[in-house]
């Protein structure tokens, strides 16, 4: 995390990515590896199985960055990725989780 204040963090424009993947060990590494090798911080990650467990859905919260369109293209190239959908930061999926992420 960089030195920005929490409120400032929220002021930075965010995007939410919804990613459908094949469910097997290693998929998460493929996905987050694309971000880490470019020093592109992933601010939030959620993942649960869907469709009787053959597939999973990964939700990523990321900062808006000029590299984001390239990141989406790189995600789409991964063999185990079925679809990538981009949402705005106000998507409910992370907002509803805020209660679990209050400072102690």
């Amino acid at each position: 995390m960089n030195a920005t204040h929490r409120n400032e963090q929220q002021a930075i424009s965010r995007a939410v990515l919804e990613i459908d993947v094949n469910n097997h060990p290693g998929v998460m590494s493929h996905v987050v590896g694309l971000f880490s090798r470019r020093t592109y911080n992933v601010e939030g990650i959620l993942c649960l199985p869907v469709d009787d467990g053959r597939h999973s859905r990964i939700w990523l919260a990321v900062n808006e960055d000029q590299r984001l369109p390239q990141m989406i293209k790189q995600l789409e190239k991964l063999e185990d990725i079925l679809a990538v959908r981009r949402h705005d930061a106000d998507h409910a999926v992370f907002a509803r989780l805020e209660a679990f992420f209050q400072p102690r």
Binding site: G26, S29, H30, G33, R37, K73, E76, K77, L78, E79
Partner: protein, 556 residues
């Protein structure tokens, strides 16, 4: 009919069914079941490399000349880590490779077992895709898919990590899967082709910019046809050399860091850049903001992620370049661009490529030109990485796609000798010449004995300046001539080294008639090392300093 086969036998049968007839590798504990099965194969010839990286580059050599996926094998742990450089090199140059590694038994994964390493994790960022196989049944799907992925779209390396107990697990087989094949990519739309054709027809000063993708797609002929019909001056990246014969009237040769000055200056003036299977690599573009500043850009590439990555295209076409060029050819108008070609000729006359001392076989350019004079276009030319590589790229008359094997993206010293061996294994009817340097050859020197064992027709031309030439050059030009760690204080007797590793050797330094000695060495069948000392003070010129714009070249 039902057969009971182990995972190892299955793997070999599936590879045979892919049409693989030569593999390179080194056995070890965790891949011994596969080697046991491989030893029983009546179809596959195994080449025993002396280092796994050598095996990886031999497979690359086979893949680069054939355009088809090639296979290398290694054991777990150090076997797998030694392969990684060759895999990363294949990734950056889009070479189809299937690397098969042994892994410790499933029950021991994660226990820091002997020769256990996280091959899957290590290979993640340097493969197109990778697999850790969980059962013998899975192999039936994974192996054909590995070949399909390696060959489809933009080609690349695929790694298949197979635990030892999966290799020994026996299962019943009643039917075999179809071999994995390249899948077709969506064609360009009619609108895209029409727009591209209109842009080409309307352009006053267009340039065609060919990348390695043209070679991979087998589209060199289509590119030449388009260039000729629309009268397009054409530049090539390092990876595309040979796609258009470099002495074709429309050829401007290689662009970028070590391209000719007139080539880079022509790009400065172009009003339309047609990039085909190229990725605007920094060595080609120089400072991106100053690259083709006046040009509209048409970018055709099979990999959508390359479009708009470095330069935003006015027209981006995500398609197989062969198909796109094929559709573009009838759509463009026949043109004679007299004014633009006259301007290019003017630049060529004013800023010609300087090849000093090219008539002297004891000079770097002279040696390269003399080698070329001994050969015809059927020869394969491989290089290592360094000054010699750039001089060969500048001076060798490459005229055929897949004639030229070089490590472009990763720039791996040590590539040349094993890649040349692989090329000779895949196409034994051809003479393979490997230009190398005294720095590069030391990085996979052990493969000379593999060349001897396989009796491959590889001629290694060693340009020896007793230094790491490109480092020496950069320290001289940009680090105040503070030469550090770029000159070897002790150098091997390469003639004795080659002879000690079982191959013939000729020292041009001692030859009364170097041309005759060279011709004789090249004409004799089998592997041979040809040693020639060159001047350490010779630079690769012209040169765009790192970070500068391409028009700010230094040197002649």
């Amino acid at each position: 009919m039902t057969e009971t086969l182990t995972g190892a036998q299955l793997t070999i049968r599936l590879i045979e069914r892919q049409g693989i007839r030569t593999v390179a590798g080194i056995p070890g504990g965790a891949i011994l079941p596969i080697y046991d099965a491989l030893g029983q194969s009546p179809l596959i010839h195994h080449v025993l490399a002396r280092h796994e990286q050598g095996a990886g580059f031999m497979a690359q050599g086979m893949a680069r000349v054939s355009g088809k996926p090639a296979v290398c094998l290694a054991s777990s742990g150090p076997g797998a880590t030694n392969l990684l450089t060759a895999i990363a090199d294949a990734k950056l140059d889009s070479i189809p490779l299937v690397a098969i590694t042994g892994q410790v038994p499933r029950a021991m994964i994660g226990t820091d077992a002997f020769q256990e390493v996280d091959t899957y994790g290590l290979s993640l960022p340097i493969t197109k895709h990778n697999f850790l196989v969980g059962s013998a049944e899975e192999l039936l799907e994974v192996i054909p898919r590995a070949f399909a992925i390696a060959a489809s779209g933009r080609p690349g390396p695929v790694l298949v990590d197979i635990p030892k107990d999966v290799q020994t697990q026996a299962i019943d087989i009643t039917s075999w899967p179809e071999p994995g094949q390249a899948t077709r990519t969506p064609p360009p739309t009619a609108t895209q082709i029409a727009t591209a054709a209109a842009m080409i027809d309307a352009a006053q000063r267009p340039i065609l910019y060919l990348g390695g993708g043209v070679v991979h797609a087998g589209a060199a002929k289509a590119a030449v046809d388009l260039a000729e019909k629309a009268d397009l001056p054409t530049v090539m990246t390092l990876m595309a050399l040979g796609a258009l014969p470099v002495d074709h009237p429309l050829s401007l040769g290689m662009l970028g860091m070590h391209g000719a000055r007139h080539t880079n200056l022509a790009l400065d003036e172009c009003d339309l850049l047609i990039a085909v299977g190229a990725r605007f690599d920094d060595r080609a573009t120089g400072k991106v903001a100053a690259f083709c500043p006046q040009a509209k850009i048409i970018h055709i590439d099979i990999d959508p992620a390359e479009l708009d990555k470095i330069k935003t295209a006015h027209l981006a076409i995500g398609a197989d370049v062969g198909e796109a060029l094929g559709q573009l050819l009838p759509a463009v108008g026949e043109q004679r661009r007299e004014r633009w070609l006259a301007r290019i000729d003017e630049l060529r006359r004013e800023f010609p490529f300087q090849m000093p001392d090219a008539g002297n076989p004891r000079s770097h350019f002279g040696l390269i030109r003399t080698v070329a004079a001994c050969l015809d276009d059927t020869a394969i030319i491989a290089t290592d990485v360094g000054q010699h590589q750039m001089w060969v790229a500048q001076a060798y008359p490459l005229r055929r796609p897949r004639q030229w094997l070089t490590s472009g993206g990763l720039g791996t010293m040590g590539f040349g000798v094993p890649a040349a061996i692989g090329a000779a294994l895949a196409e034994p009817q051809r003479t393979v010449v490997c230009f190398t340097g005294d720095g590069s050859i030391m990085m996979n020197l052990q493969e000379l004995i593999t060349a001897a064992e396989e009796k491959v027709n590889v001629k290694i031309v060693l340009m020896d300046n007793a230094s790491l030439g490109l480092v020496h050059q950069q320290q001289t030009l940009f680090y105040g001539e503070r030469l550090f760690a770029s000159q070897f204080r002790v150098t091997p007797d390469f003639i004795k080294v080659a002879q000690g590793l079982g191959i013939a050797a000729v020292d041009l330094d001692l030859a009364a008639n170097p041309c005759a000695a060279l011709m004789d060495a090249i004409a004799r069948p089998g592997p041979c090392l040809i040693h020639a000392s060159i001047d350490v003070d010779q630079k690769v010129y012209p040169m765009v300093p790192p970070g500068a714009a391409n028009h700010d070249m230094i040197g002649a």
